[in-house]
């Protein structure tokens, strides 16, 4: 039985399998971490999708996770936008991560409403390649839905940083991919809670010491 299955899989490359996304091959922005690319359905942060990152605390390496993607976007002449970050991103450290600061933009607004509006506008702009947005736990679902639509329209990657809630956010969420971040002595521990075509949650550890 297994032999027959293996044969079928190797002999027919066009066979649709449960863990690949439905429809045409979608493009993705490589995360820069081989092990993470392996478990993400399109082999990276999918374009035109909202990725929700649940962060228990600031300073566990959450920006380090996005650094390779920021580098890839800014070095190819597209813009990356950071909206409502919790602290000031430190330029020498970004420069050390080979991020082109000319293509990096910082938006820090007084009200969260303005931040969401700016995110919506930026996502729809074709020149924007990656958007990192920090929201608080009270941001309503319909607003996130709107952002997801904007990301899809602009074919932009949206990384949404959201504080982790003790009771969770309920069953329905608009994110295409949800990742739970946890601090780890070597780097960062990730739980892939939701991804298209995924049946079981998966976990992995990223080692920042190597890169």
């Amino acid at each position: 039985m297994n032999e027959a299955l293996d044969y079928l899989i190797t002999a027919t490359p066009r066979l649709w399998r449960g863990n690949s996304t439905v429809g045409s091959v979608s493009q993705a922005l490589p995360t820069g971490f081989y092990t993470l690319d392996q478990i993400l359905p399109d082999g990276g942060w999918p374009l035109g999708a909202m990725v929700e990152l649940l962060v228990p605390a600031t300073g566990i390496g959450e920006l380090r996770l996005a650094a390779p993607a920021l580098r890839a976007v800014t070095c190819t002449g597209r813009y990356a936008v950071l909206i409502a970050p919790p602290y000031l991103p430190f330029a020498p450290a970004l420069e050390h991560a080979r991020i082109d600061l000319q293509y990096l933009l910082l938006i820090k607004t007084k009200h969260s409403q303005q931040a969401l509006w700016a995110a919506d506008k930026a996502l729809r702009n074709p020149a924007c390649g990656l958007l990192l947005l920090w929201v608080d736990a009270t941001t309503p679902g319909h607003v996130l839905r709107r952002l997801q639509m904007a990301a899809r329209e602009g074919n932009t990657v949206l990384l949404l940083y959201r504080p982790e809630m003790p009771g969770g956010y309920g069953k329905s969420h608009w994110a295409n991919i949800r990742l739970r971040l946890q601090s780890h002595s070597q780097g960062l521990a990730l739980d892939l809670l939701k991804a298209p075509g995924q049946l079981q949650p998966q976990s992995l550890t990223l080692n920042f010491q190597d890169g």
């Binding site: 300073g59 566990i60 959450e62 000031l88 430190f90 050390h96 509006w117 020149a127």
Partner: protein, 505 residues
């Protein structure tokens, strides 16, 4: 039979002669086309449009020598047989509920200038010919705009955006074109000087002299049309009526040169709008701004120019003034983009007082160099799209909200970055964190020693004695005891005080 034949033959010869004459005319027209061609734009209801827009019967009056005369009527009033030149008392006897307005010459002049500005985009020779008529030379523009029909249609459509009624006519001289328009010959298009004379013969004599005593004298002599006038011996007519009528006629026929004062667009651009009633909402102001922006675009287009900022001046009911400045990161001529910038700005703008008038001003006009176009479409709009996005965000959120970072070649962490988009010295530092606290936060040493454990040795930074901001610090990378976040802390070597300065995000 012979008679008949003879008659027939004669007639045939006669028609042949005529045809020959006609052919001669045509060939003459082909060989000697008019070197100038003028289009007159007559605005028949300008006086009324300047003061009111209404469906009900309305008239505009002007008081001359104690008598109120009607100078402009709308369609509803015309249906009641109220005509221009009628006494107000006579009009009131025809319609009791007539709306009466005083003439507003300054608004008329402003509107006429707006029309002239539109015409200026079709021709470089535009002149304000009368208080309700402009003329433009079109002979040199015909090829560019694709013929007379296309030009006339384009001009008419542009003017109709101002909701003005127009009568356009074409003749080889400005004066003749104006006469044709004034006499309501909407389809009159005379491109040949010979044909002009024939057409002018049928026009009334009042066109030369206006509603004056001379006109009445002409009419009393039985001279009703220009044709009647032309038939008389010039010498005798001049002795009786003066030289002026003949001169005007000769100018109209192209026998004497016409002296015109040409229109030049004002510089710098400034366009005003006065509200009838004070306006307290931004929505209405935005609508008017849209219209003023149309004028600005026209203005920029004819100069191949662009602007970087415009100023909207709001005059409030208490005479105070507020200025709204809308700027763009790159040269701009597209009114749709400016419209959007105004939309974003006005949405958040709170009016101090109701507004009575607004004025849109563009002080600095930059002439754009002509750019070459790519033969094959190249998708290179990224930069432009992005600049437009920046403008929109800044218009709504303010200039200080959006920032770009760059590094500075300074070993002190506080001075190692700048808010600017100029690529400075590339400063790369490996042990430094992604998040920085703009001002270091003092730490309680007892709490600190309990919860945070240092991961590595100290990084001593001892710098800045030359700049007055002398620092001597030992930086540590520490991890929280509960195993979550990593912090960047330092001990001030002078005071011994501990500070939190960053997080390893």
């Amino acid at each position: 039979m012979a008679d008949l034949f003879q008659a027939f033959g004669l007639r045939a010869a006669d028609s042949g002669k005529r045809r020959l004459k006609l052919l001669h005319q045509v060939s003459a027209a082909q060989t000697t086309p008019a070197t100038t061609l003028w289009m007159a734009v007559y605005l028949p209801r300008l006086a009324l449009h300047a003061v009111v827009e209404t469906e009900e019967a309305a008239v505009v009056i002007e008081t001359q020598a104690g008598r109120s005369l009607i100078i402009s009527t709308n369609q509803a009033a015309e249906r009641l047989s109220i005509t221009n030149g009628m006494m107000l008392s006579a009009a009131l006897s025809l319609c009791n509920g007539l709306h009466i307005y005083e003439r507003d010459s300054s608004t008329e002049y402003r509107l006429l200038n707006e029309v002239a500005a539109i015409a200026y985009s079709f021709s470089d020779s535009v002149s304000l010919y009368a208080s309700d008529t402009i003329v433009l030379e079109i002979c040199n523009s015909l090829k560019l705009f694709g013929g007379l029909d296309a030009l006339q249609q384009g001009l008419q459509q542009s003017i109709e955006k101002l909701k003005l009624q127009t009568i356009l006519s074409v003749a080889p001289t400005a004066c003749a074109a104006t006469w044709l328009a004034l006499s309501g010959q909407t389809t009159a298009r005379i491109t040949d000087l010979r044909a002009l004379k024939t057409v002018l013969r049928t026009l009334p004599i009042s066109l030369i002299t206006g509603k004056t005593k001379t006109t009445r004298q002409f009419q009393n002599c039985g001279i009703q049309t220009l044709g009647d006038y032309m038939r008389l011996p010039h010498k005798d007519v001049n002795r009786r009526f003066g030289l002026r009528p003949l001169r005007v006629l000769q100018q109209a026929l192209g026998e004497l040169p016409e002296l015109l004062q040409y229109y030049h667009p004002p510089e710098p651009f400034s366009s005003e709008w006065h509200f009838d009633d004070p306006v307290a909402t931004c929505g209405l102001i935005e609508k008017v701004v849209e219209r003023l922006l149309q004028g600005l675009q026209q203005y920029l287009q004819i100069r191949c120019a662009a602007i970087q900022y415009v100023v909207l001046r709001l005059e409030h009911i208490d005479q105070s003034i507020s200025n709204l400045r809308i700027s763009s990161s790159h040269y701009q001529r597209n009114d749709a983009h400016l419209k959007q910038l105004f939309h974003e700005r006005l949405q958040n703008y709170e009016l101090k007082q109701p507004v009575i008038s607004i004025c849109l001003r563009a002080d600095e006009i930059h002439v754009l160099p002509a750019a070459n176009m790519e033969l094959f479409a190249v998708h290179n709009n990224n930069q432009q799209d992005w600049q437009q996005l920046m403008d929109i965000l800044q218009a709504r959120l303010g200039q200080q909200i959006i920032r770009q970072l760059s590094t500075c070649d300074d070993p002190r962490p506080e001075y190692a970055y700048r808010f600017s988009n100029n690529a400075g010295a590339k400063l790369r530092h490996s042990g430094w964190p992604f998040w920085l606290l703009e001002t270091p936060q003092p730490l309680d040493i007892r709490q600190f020693s309990k919860n945070l454990k240092p991961e590595n040795g100290a990084e001593r930074i001892e710098q800045g004695w030359w700049a007055g901001a002398d620092i001597r610090r030992d930086y540590y990378c520490t991890q929280h005891a509960q195993g979550s976040a990593r912090y960047w802390v330092f001990q001030d070597c002078r005071s011994g005080q501990w500070f939190l300065h960053g997080l390893f995000g």
